[in-house]
Structure formats: C-alpha cells, structure tokens
Symmetry: C2
Subunit: 319 residues, 2 copies
C-alpha cells in the first residue's frame, strides 16, 4: 500500500506523519515551532520532525508516494512559496521546492492548512460521503476549504474557502484584512477575548486571557463571556447561512479550539443559522463539529497525494 | 453543425430560439406568458412559441441535438418539475418530461433561469475565458449561477448560485424567503421601489412605480431615489465581497433590468465592494455588467446541450 509523508506547519507546532491509504498513521513526530527570525532554523526543525516520523514508520524517502503539506497561509499556490502570518521567519519561503530537493520525491503538494482540514474531514472525518462540504476552522483565525461536486475546489489563485472573510456584521469591527465585520474579526478566539476584556471581563487568577479561559467563564455563567461567545457563534451562523444559500452545501464541519467553546457558542450558531437559512435546501445543510481534531490537517495533507483524483492538483514543474 | 431548441420561461414572457454551436440564433419567437390558472394553456402557449422558432429556422424536431430550458424557479432538479414563483398555473409541472414526449428529442435539460444567465455569459458573453464566474441577475428578483473550475456547479440539489440570499444586512428587512437582510430583500427592483415609496417618493405623472421610474428619478437628482438605489448597490457590493472571499472568483457579471439603474447603483456597488473585499485575491475580482442582455438565458439554455462537457448534466431516466 502507498505511504506518504504528511506535514502540518503552524505557528505553534510543526507536525509530521507517515500515513497510508487507510489513513493509518504509521509514524509521527511533533515539535514546537522555532520562533526566531532564521528561516533555515525553522526549516531544519521541520526536517528533524519529518525524519523522526519516517523513522517511527521504519520508512525511507524512497518508499514515499509523495509529500503533502498543510501550511498556515498566506502562500503562493500551487508553487508553494509560503509566508505564514505568524511565522515571520518565512516570507515567500520556497517550501515545496526545498522539500522536492531534499527528499527527491514527487509530487510535493502544499496548500493552506484550512484546506487541509476540509480535505481531511471529507476523506476520513465528518464529511465522508458528502459531495458538497465546507470544512471550517474557528480558532486563532477563521478559515476554511471547499469540497464541491466531490472534489477540492481551489478558486482562481488557490484562495477559495476564505469563509473567515465572509461579512457577518457590515457595520462591525475592522478586520485585519482591512475590511469590516468579517467573521474572523468577530468570531476568532482572540477577537472574542479582546471584546470581553474591553467590556470588563478578567480571566481567573493565574489563567491566561485566552479562548479556553473565556469558555470556562461562560460555562460558569459569566455574563460578559456568555454574551461575547454568543456573538461569535451568531456571526458564524450568519456567514454559514450565506454560504449555504450560495453553494447549496450538504454539510459544514467545524474544527478548531475556539469552536470547542460549548453550548454558548453552538447554540448561538445554530440559532442564527436557523434564523437566516430559511430556504429548504439551505436549512437542510448540517452544521456539525468535525471528527478528526488536531489530526485533520495532517490527514488532509496525506489525502492531497493519496487520493489525488479528488484532492490533488498539478503543482507545475520547478525542479 | 448541431442545432438545439432553447427555451426561456419567465413570468412575463415565453421565448424560444433555435441556436447553433456558434451561438447564432437561426429562428426565434416570443409571446407574453398567459396569466390564467390553467397549466395546459400555459404549456400550449410555450409549444406555439417553440413551433414558431423552429419554423423560423426552417428546422424540424428531428434536426435537434436536444432542448435546453431556462425556467423561473423554484424547481426540482434535475427532473425538471417546475413551480415558477410568479406562474401559479404550474406547480410541480413536469416540464422536462412533457417536452421529452412532445418532441421525442434527448436530452432535455431544465435549469433555473439565473443559472441559464450565468452559463450564457460564460459561453459567449462577458465571462468568456474565465474559470471562476458568478453570473448574477438583479431585477424583479436577485439570483445567480456559478461556473467554478471552468464548469457549471450545481450544488447538492441544483440550487447553487442563490446569491440573492447571501446576507447583506443582518438587521435588515425581512425577506420573502423568511430570512432577514438577504440581498434580494434590499436590492431587488420591487424592494427598492417599495422602500422609496414608503419614504415619500412618487413616480412622475402617468408613470408606473417601478425600477425604471425610480432610476429616472435618481438620474434627475431625486434624493429619495438616489439614497435607495445606493442602498441596493451597497447591499450587492457587500454580498459580492463575501462571495469573492469564499470562492476566489475572477469575475462577477451582472445582468437584469434593475442593474441598469446607472451610476447611482454601480458607484455604490463598486464602493462597497472596494470597502469590504480587501484581500488581494478578492479585490482582483472584476465586477462588471453582462454582455448578452435579454438573450443570456436563451443562449445559456442552448449551451446546456451544445457544450455539455462544461455546462451539461445527466438528468436521469424518466421517459
């Protein structure tokens, strides 16, 4: 059976895994992302992680059918020059090209990590068997990827799936993108925490001011926490109603830390979705949590190569 | 060269045309839509129209490579049982099946008229050469169709492209669909006219209270007309920013009577789009008027059959 090396590059951790066609992880490794300015140090850490995953699977580069990478955006697609927002060491870093040279394996396919999540959830997670799926991440940022007509949809420049910039509150807060009222500006964990802090919320003694603390406060009945998490859920629900109308989706599968904020988030989300998605076909779209958790981007990266008919693409020649 | 019969079924008129592979209209006919409750009378009027188009092209049913139909929605797709909102005579009328039996020609492909517009504009209009296009109609209603990755995208139930129900003002007016602040509730001609009337606008002596009169009033500097047309344009611009982020589109081509309301509409639309679509890839999406005018749904219907690789589908067996 074919095996691939799957890589997940994020601002907090680097992960590598050797994955087979049944989505079994035969070897894996994970290290914190180096935070310094040196692009080579970051790359070396990634290689170390990959080597450990290969060793864990008792595999050599020559055994691989290819390499799939889910990487934090933005990036130039499909050439795979990456500039992850939270990893300033890499600016137009030629990740795909470097991995090609390093492992002498083709194809090497690099895509947005939120696209990796969507593919993972479609391949082996909540979306198995659906033809039209939005996979969405609600975490430090809000992103997504689209499976349409049974295949990964890339868009004109590989940027399709940016559900975080669907507009949920036209008169709402300014977004980092320069726009206003984008879902991400309202519903990302840090946006929600910032609003709660501004309204007077404080995390419990010794706890950080983050989404987990805010969710705990909401669970304990804190009004400010409840109100702001509900606003985040409502923004996601409104945006998803727009997506369901536009794309006639069967399912939206949501992953990411902040999406695990419990009923205050999900009740507001489902309430808003029910209020705004009224046409039968849109109301029929299921909005549910994903199933794969933190492995979604790794399994998606594996599927780019292992199920290229549905999830792959031609990255062009650049060896 | 193959020829097809193309049909456009709308609440005000029925149109038929014989079209060849170069999008030449070899014969055509057009009649007002009968308004009575008799489904057969409406069907007979459509047949008369088709027969006249065939006669104009000196063609017989046996010459046809198929029949394409753009019909006002909603409908059951792909089986083609139509229930046009403004044509109460037809409720789950088996239009596709009737045409199959009548002309003994296959395929007969029936889709939403807004989908026909999008396909027409992609095949031979403003969107030629694009891979990712939203074709949009702003008229009595607001609708659309999507070409993604170079092909017509249908969605789970043939309802993809309902851009009229993307949410532009979450706290805005109630929509006929039951939701709130949908583009259609704000930017359709009748919605805009109704708002202007409520604010004290009156059409000129002897003129109807419609979108054309409102656009004339705006052109003459009427403040209420200007304000309400601008609100319509802004709603479209916000919705399109959401669409451009989600789908990484190259172009949106807009047709329909109310979209011809001139600079008060288009300036507000482009202004809102520029304000809300800030990521480079989204800002790069062109938003322009369509090129085919009233022939767009007819040419799109022809293309369902004539370019089935890109625009066709399998309607299933039901003879």
């Amino acid at each position: 059976m074919s095996i691939v090396l799957a890589i997940d590059v994020g601002g907090t951790k680097l992960a590598g895994a050797v994955v087979d066609g049944r989505a079994r992880i035969l070897g894996r490794s994970r290290v914190p992302s180096p935070t310094g300015p040196d692009p080579e140090l970051l790359y070396e850490a990634l290689l170390t992680c990959c080597t450990a995953a290969l060793r864990g699977a008792d595999a050599r580069p020559g055994d691989l059918a290819g390499i799939g990478v889910s990487c934090a955006g933005p990036m130039v697609w499909p050439s795979g020059e990456v500039s992850p927002l939270n990893m300033p060491a890499w600016r137009r870093f030629p990740l795909r090209h470097r991995l090609l040279r390093e492992f002498e394996v083709e194809p090497v396919l690099v895509h947005n990590d939120a696209v990796g999540v969507a593919v993972g959830e479609h391949w082996k997670g909540a979306g198995v068997g659906t033809a039209n799926l939005l996979g969405m991440t609600v975490s430090t940022g809000v992103g997504g990827g689209l499976i349409l007509g049974g295949r990964l949809y890339h868009g004109a420049s590989g940027n399709a799936g940016h559900v975080g910039h669907v507009i949920a509150e036209p008169d709402g807060p300014r977004c980092a993108c320069g726009g206003h009222g984008c879902v991400e500006a309202i519903a990302a964990g840090p946006s929600t925490v910032r609003r709660a802090l501004a309204e007077g919320w404080h995390p419990a003694e010794g706890r950080p001011a983050d989404g987990i603390s805010l969710a705990s406060a909401a669970a304990a009945g804190d009004e400010i926490a409840l109100r702001n998490i509900a606003r985040a859920g409502r923004a996601v629900g409104i945006a998803l109603a727009s997506c369901a109308h536009l794309l006639d989706l069967e399912m939206v599968a949501i992953v990411g830390g902040f999406s695990q904020s419990g009923p205050p988030f999900w009740d507001a989300l489902h309430g808003a979705f029910a209020t705004y998605a009224r046409m039968d076909f849109a109301a029929a779209c299921q909005v549910i949590p994903g199933k794969l958790g933190a492995d979604a981007p790794l399994l998606g990266a594996a599927a780019f190569v292992l199920d290229s008919e549905r999830y792959g693409w031609d990255p062009g020649a650049d060896r």
